[in-house]
């Protein structure tokens, strides 16, 4: 079972991101379970959502406490909330920011993890470019597909289109494609640096 925890703020589509991720996995024939952190969500308040993906029925109903991957939609949460809590040592992190981990002041923290699995992507900017709004959830899923290899970009695009029709859907698909390409390039750069 692969468990993802998504952190953001009310209004950023954190719950929708988990839902679309689960639909992408479902569309690839897998079992998946998406659910929000249950609270009285308010615009701007920290929000968490979860997605589990497995090849068999998912029965467990506890919150995801030891995620295999973290998607952080809002980097302003990094120093407010224990977003990294329980992350597995071989876990993935994708943060929506144009800054690097060092610039975020996370360089030391990341040193304990597999650095090729820790990436940042300016998903909000890519979303603004393609949709006119800085809502990063769709773009981040594209980036996450590249980073984790867990789901395909096509499945992400399909899930976005199921949720959002017309120009909103297409804009988000374009943003997801751009984020996917960004992350893929970043990964190539990292592996190049590693082999050099």
């Amino acid at each position: 079972m692969f468990q993802v925890r998504i952190h953001g703020r009310g209004g950023q589509g954190v719950v929708t991101a988990a839902e679309m991720l689960s639909v992408a996995a479902f569309n690839e024939g897998r079992h998946s379970q998406a659910f929000p952190s249950f609270g009285s969500e308010r615009m701007g308040a920290p929000v968490v959502s979860f997605c589990r993906i497995d090849d068999r029925e998912i029965r467990v109903r506890e919150p995801v406490m030891e995620p295999d991957a973290l998607i952080i939609q809002d980097p302003t949460l990094l120093h407010q909330v224990d977003v990294f809590g329980g992350l597995r040592p071989d876990g993935f992190i994708l943060i929506n920011t144009a800054k690097s981990f060092d610039e975020l002041g996370l360089g030391e923290f990341v040193a304990d993890f597999r650095h090729e699995r820790m990436l940042t992507v300016p998903a909000g900017e890519l979303a603004r470019e393609h949709t006119g709004r800085p809502v990063a959830n769709g773009a981040l899923l594209g980036g996450f597909a590249a980073l984790s290899g867990l789901i395909s970009l096509d499945a992400v695009a399909g899930a976005i289109r199921e949720r959002f029709s017309g120009t909103v859907g297409e804009g988000n698909v374009a943003a997801a494609q751009a984020a996917h390409a960004w992350v893929a390039a970043e990964m190539r750069e990292l592996s190049g640096a590693a082999s050099a």
């Binding site: 079992h31 379970q33 968490v48 998912i58 506890e62």
Partner: protein
């Protein structure tokens, strides 16, 4: 068709497939998405003919359902928590009048202190109101139980409550198999009411009954629930034949054949319990689980047969009967009358506290060692409780409990977010 849907959407679609003619509802978390989805299905004409009545309260919601059902219309509503409490008087009227209304309860805690999260306090408080109560373990089962519930309700002319864990199920997006309209039509015939108000042939429904006949009329509600003990498994068997899914029924056993310890529970927590049971089985622990799908009627004989051979029973419940402890336990104990075994009541998950596999492992280990207290509170922070008890002891004017305790635990304990 297999689809990836939010539980609330899955239930709304199941209800729509049952062709209700009147839906009346007042929104309350975590039920809201169900009736929002249904209102859209009515508005867009996908569910027709159906009248969606926006009412001003839950009391009105149940009253409209009663009125609609009494005219011979298939009627549905949904609620949760304080909303269920607000309709209590009408709940008793629906069952006393024998009106086959189907209602979803998206289980949620009851205040005070106000809390929107899941537990079973709401529906458990109405266990004796004369409604049949079915508890869903998964969203698939919630969907299936609604289709079965209309048939059960109408065959017996008695109302049915389908209980599903608020947020944990209602807001979870997972795989469900949504049947086709033709399949549901074949399984659920049009509503043929036992009684119906008709201006052309006027009758009274709901006459005053004095001591000369009240007990007899009241007994009939019980007689119907005893009939339901036969009918629920029959409907589940028919359902399996029609839809190919083993869903519903009275109870569900999991790895109990040679079990020395059986954990009894209702609803979605059974999934987490089953995963924990599997992990313990791998270590050679003889443990199993018993899910009670039908809490009303309570299948005394089946529960007895399922538990009479074990060494210990752990009843894990999401409601607290203040002043005694367990509600489900009291029913299980009645089923086990005369049998000596270790029995433990575990109150868990009140007000949405997560029930984790880690906690269950610790709990079951204590149970298997017979070290559990007869009444145990899973993951209770006793230091917090004891400090408030000390404050109460120190001063007569110690103030409100909830505010004192919130101040004590501080904002950090509000959760990982």
């Amino acid at each position: 068709m297999l689809r990836q849907l939010e539980g609330s959407r899955a239930v709304a679609e199941a209800v729509a497939l049952c062709r209700p003619q009147v839906i009346c509802a007042y929104p309350i978390s975590p039920q809201t998405h169900i009736v929002e989805n249904l209102s859209q299905l009515v508005k867009t004409g996908q569910l027709a003919p159906c009248e969606f009545v926006n009412v001003e309260s839950e009391f009105a919601a149940m009253s409209v359902a009663i009125g609609a059902c009494a005219t011979g219309a298939r009627a549905y509503t949904a609620t949760a928590s304080q909303g269920l409490l607000y309709m209590v008087e009408a709940l008793y009227n629906a069952s006393g009048l024998g009106l086959p209304i189907v209602m979803t309860v998206a289980n949620r805690a009851i205040g005070a202190p106000i809390n929107i999260w899941n537990d079973h306090s709401d529906s458990m408080s109405q266990r004796d109101c004369g409604w049949i109560q079915l508890y869903a373990e998964t969203n698939q089962e919630a969907l299936d139980l609604h289709i079965q519930a209309f048939r059960l309700a109408e065959d017996l002319s008695t109302p049915v409550m389908v209980c599903m864990d608020g947020f944990i199920l209602t807001h979870a997006v997972e795989r469900v198999d949504v049947p086709g309209q033709d399949q549901v039509d074949a399984f659920l015939p049009p509503f043929a009411p036992r009684q119906a108000l008709d201006p052309d042939e006027p009758v009274s429904i709901g006459a005053m009954v004095g001591p000369e006949a009240f007990m007899e009329v009241k007994y009939l509600a019980h007689a119907k629930q005893m009939q339901a003990l036969e009918l629920i498994p029959e409907i589940a068997a028919d359902f399996e034949q029609a839809f190919g899914r083993d869903s519903g029924g009275l109870i569900r056993s999991y790895r109990t054949a040679d079990a020395e310890t059986i954990v009894v529970a209702l609803g979605s927590v059974l999934g987490t319990i089953k995963d924990t049971v599997d992990e313990l089985r791998e270590q050679g622990v003889k443990i199993g689980a018993l899910g009670i799908t039908s809490f009303r009627p309570f299948p005394l004989d089946l529960v007895r047969a399922a538990l009479e051979h074990v060494r210990r029973v752990v009843v894990l419940e999401k409601a607290l009967a203040v002043g005694i402890g367990g509600i489900v336990t009291a029913n299980v104990r009645m089923a086990l009358a005369g049998i000596a075994l270790h029995g433990y009541t575990v109150i868990a998950g009140l007000g949405g506290r997560p029930i984790t596999k880690a906690s269950l492992h610790g709990l079951f280990a204590e149970a298997i060692a017979d070290r559990l207290e007869p009444l145990t509170f899973l993951d209770m922070d006793w230091d917090v409780v004891n400090r408030e008890l000390e404050r109460m002891g120190a001063s007569r004017a110690s103030g409100p409990h909830a505010e004192n305790i919130l101040r004590d635990v501080g904002p950090v304990a509000a959760g990982p977010v």
